[in-house]
């Protein structure tokens, strides 16, 4: 790293979205054509951004738009609606505002704006605010994605646990052997332990909230399900045990 004053602040973890990448982003300004709108557009073009404008606010936004600026008070004054999926935002959202009263602040928080710029447009600070917002948005997207992955992983673990439990109850095997049976089945059928577990639970009618299966029925079902594969699975697991 080049020696410089920024060093004490470097986190060293994730590469931030840097200013040199700014000109690769595409911008959409949701604003009527007036002098404020022109001032904002001019400054973004001065910075070197690719800017489009739209008015009135559309129903949806194309995926290739990275950053949306919306003149919130213009939308309200002209009785338009700003359609926005705050839970699954498709772009960084930056509000341009005239008012800072409690109602308008509430509205901005519900929209989950990533940054706010006040009117009249003052060029100083827009570039920095913009880059901070893009970085915060990207970090949030990354966290959201890893959370979704963690939830999916948790769900599949739970399924495998339940399938294992079913085999333990029906066949009287240990936890370890029950898992080995599931794994052997997965290998034989060239699929994953999760998929086999799901199949086992479906065949047994052990879906969430389903009725408790009679132990005798469970045994029979497991036997049918694993017929032909089971003895091999057990012998494998016994050898390895």
């Amino acid at each position: 790293m080049r020696p410089g004053r920024s060093e004490p602040f470097a986190s060293g973890k994730e590469q931030p979205f840097l200013i040199k990448d700014l000109r690769s982003l595409s911008f959409l300004l949701v604003q009527p054509q007036d002098s404020d709108g022109l001032a904002l557009r001019s400054h973004l073009e001065r910075i070197g951004c690719q800017v489009q404008e739209i008015w009135p606010p559309p129903q949806t936004y194309p995926d290739d738009i990275d950053i949306i600026f919306v003149m919130v008070d213009r939308v309200i004054e002209s009785s338009q609606t700003f359609h926005w999926q705050a839970d699954t935002p498709s772009a960084v959202l930056i509000a341009v505002i005239d008012y800072e009263n409690p109602l308008s602040i509430d509205r901005l928080l519900h929209m989950r704006v990533n940054a706010v710029i006040g009117l009249p447009i003052r060029p100083f600070g827009i570039l920095t605010n913009l880059l901070a917002a893009v970085n915060n948005h990207r970090r949030e997207q990354r966290i959201r994605l890893s959370l979704e992955r963690a939830q999916a992983k948790l769900e599949s673990c739970r399924m495998v646990e339940r399938a294992k439990l079913a085999i333990m109850l029906a066949e009287g095997h240990s936890e370890k052997v029950s898992y080995a049976i599931l794994r052997q089945l997965a290998m034989t059928r060239r699929t994953t332990v999760e998929a086999i577990s799901s199949e086992v639970l479906t065949r047994l009618g052990w879906g969430d909230g389903g009725d408790t299966t009679n132990l005798a029925d469970l045994h029979e079902a497991t036997r049918l399900l694993t017929a032909g594969d089971l003895s091999a699975a057990i012998s494998v697991s016994d050898r390895s045990a």
């Binding site: 080049r2 020696p3 200013i19 040199k20 700014l22 000109r23 073009e45 070197g48 060029p123 570039l127």
Partner: protein, 396 residues
């Protein structure tokens, strides 16, 4: 207001302080331009009357004097400042008080204000041109030096990117504190001498630049052994440093006093005739002269007492300046300029060895600097907007 009253404009250049050499030349150019304007009938019959203040190099004085010029002397336009910190100090005043600053020095870019027009170069103009020139040497090794503040660091960063993407290497980078004395400069030059780079990229300005060259000479270095390249060492600096120390070193600038075009030669001749002294012309002299005339031009075509009228008269305007025909970009309020490469001569003037075939558009928010394989500037969308003309052949 009656139409025969003089029109006041503020002028803020330092006669003393660390960058006084250059600022005195900017003041002289401004006074000269005002004399020309008034000799030509002023602003539609009204005299242009400069109110000159000397902030002695201190940013806080620039700020305070700008505020006084606006509130007490009722000026709408201020011509002045040299360093970025002086400009930032005045910016906070003109932003608030609705006045216009015309700024005649080159700087690092990344600024725009409705209350400033920039007549000096930004890095996409001079730095790129200098890098192209330095890269004519096969794989040059550069050592980057300067004082430790925003301009040298940004300038060094940009030159480092350009040189590395063009196949050169950066041998080292050192930024000295503002208070660095002769011993610090001596130590720096000893270190560089040991490292033995092909070129020193020198971003010292004013007093520090003089100290740099003193140490350079004391360490028995010369252009034949280790060339110094600069964006700021002008004819004015060389007068202070001494032409023997700078002999053979190169500067990239939008103007050199040795330019042979008619506009420049007749301008310098008029200066001698009018002021009975030698013009210490340099890149900032040219820009200070030009901005005064551009302001007068805008005042003549619109309402000279109305800030918005003056400003819109400046944006998009052009002027036959000593450096070449310049124009002001209406979107970013910076100038289309003519970068050149000069080699310092024994007489303290520059031999111009390369120049562009067209004025270069300003791109003050340009962030990436690199060359592609054809030695053109990389072809992102913004770079295309700032297309780079071919370099004309060596004129020696």
């Amino acid at each position: 207001m009656t139409s025969d009253q003089p029109i006041h404009i503020g002028v803020l250049f330092s006669k003393t302080g660390r960058s006084a050499v250059t600022e005195r030349s900017m003041l002289a150019a401004t006074e000269f331009a005002v004399e020309e304007i008034n000799a030509g009938g002023g602003i539609n019959g009204r005299m242009l009357c400069p109110i000159i203040r000397d902030p002695m190099g201190e940013p806080s004085a620039y700020q305070q004097m700008a505020a006084e010029l606006i509130s007490e002397n009722k000026v709408r336009v201020i011509l002045g400042c040299y360093t970025s910190s002086q400009r930032k100090a005045v910016l906070s005043v003109v932003d608030r008080e609705a006045a216009l600053l015309c700024y005649a020095a080159q700087y690092e870019g990344f600024e725009y204000s409705d209350n400033i027009v920039y007549f000096g170069a930004v890095p996409n103009q001079n730095s790129v041109f200098l890098a192209i020139h330095l890269l004519k040497n096969p794989a040059p090794r550069l050592y980057i030096v300067g004082s430790d503040y925003v301009w040298p660091r940004e300038s060094g960063r940009i030159m480092g990117d350009l040189i590395q993407s063009g196949g050169g290497r950066i041998a080292g980078e050192t930024y000295l504190d503002d208070r660095a004395g002769p011993n610090d400069f001596d130590a720096l030059l000893k270190k560089i001498k040991k490292d033995n780079p092909d070129i020193i990229f020198n971003n010292f300005v004013g007093e520090a630049n003089r100290k740099f060259y003193e140490a350079y000479v004391e360490n028995s270095l010369d252009a034949g052994r280790m060339m110094v390249a600069s964006l700021t060492t002008s004819e004015a600096d060389i007068r202070e440093i001494g032409a023997s120390a700078t002999l053979g070193h190169i500067t990239a600038a939008s103007y050199f006093a040795s330019q042979s075009n008619n506009t420049n030669r007749s301008c310098l001749a008029r200066y001698r005739a009018l002021r009975q002294e030698e013009p210490h012309a340099n890149m900032c002299w040219d820009a200070a002269y030009t901005q005064t005339h551009v302001v007068a031009q805008a005042m003549r075509t619109g309402d000279p007492d109305n800030l918005n009228s003056i400003r819109s008269g400046i944006l998009g305007a052009s002027f036959e300046a000593p450096q070449g025909l310049i124009s002001i970009d209406p979107l970013n309020a910076h100038c289309n300029l003519w970068p050149k490469i000069g080699v310092a001569r024994a007489d303290g003037q520059f031999e111009i060895v390369a120049e562009t075939e067209a004025a270069i558009r300003p791109d003050p928010y340009r962030t990436t600097y690199e060359f592609d394989d054809d030695m053109g500037v990389s072809s992102d969308a913004a770079a295309q907007a700032t297309s780079w003309p071919r370099i004309s052949g060596l004129r020696q």
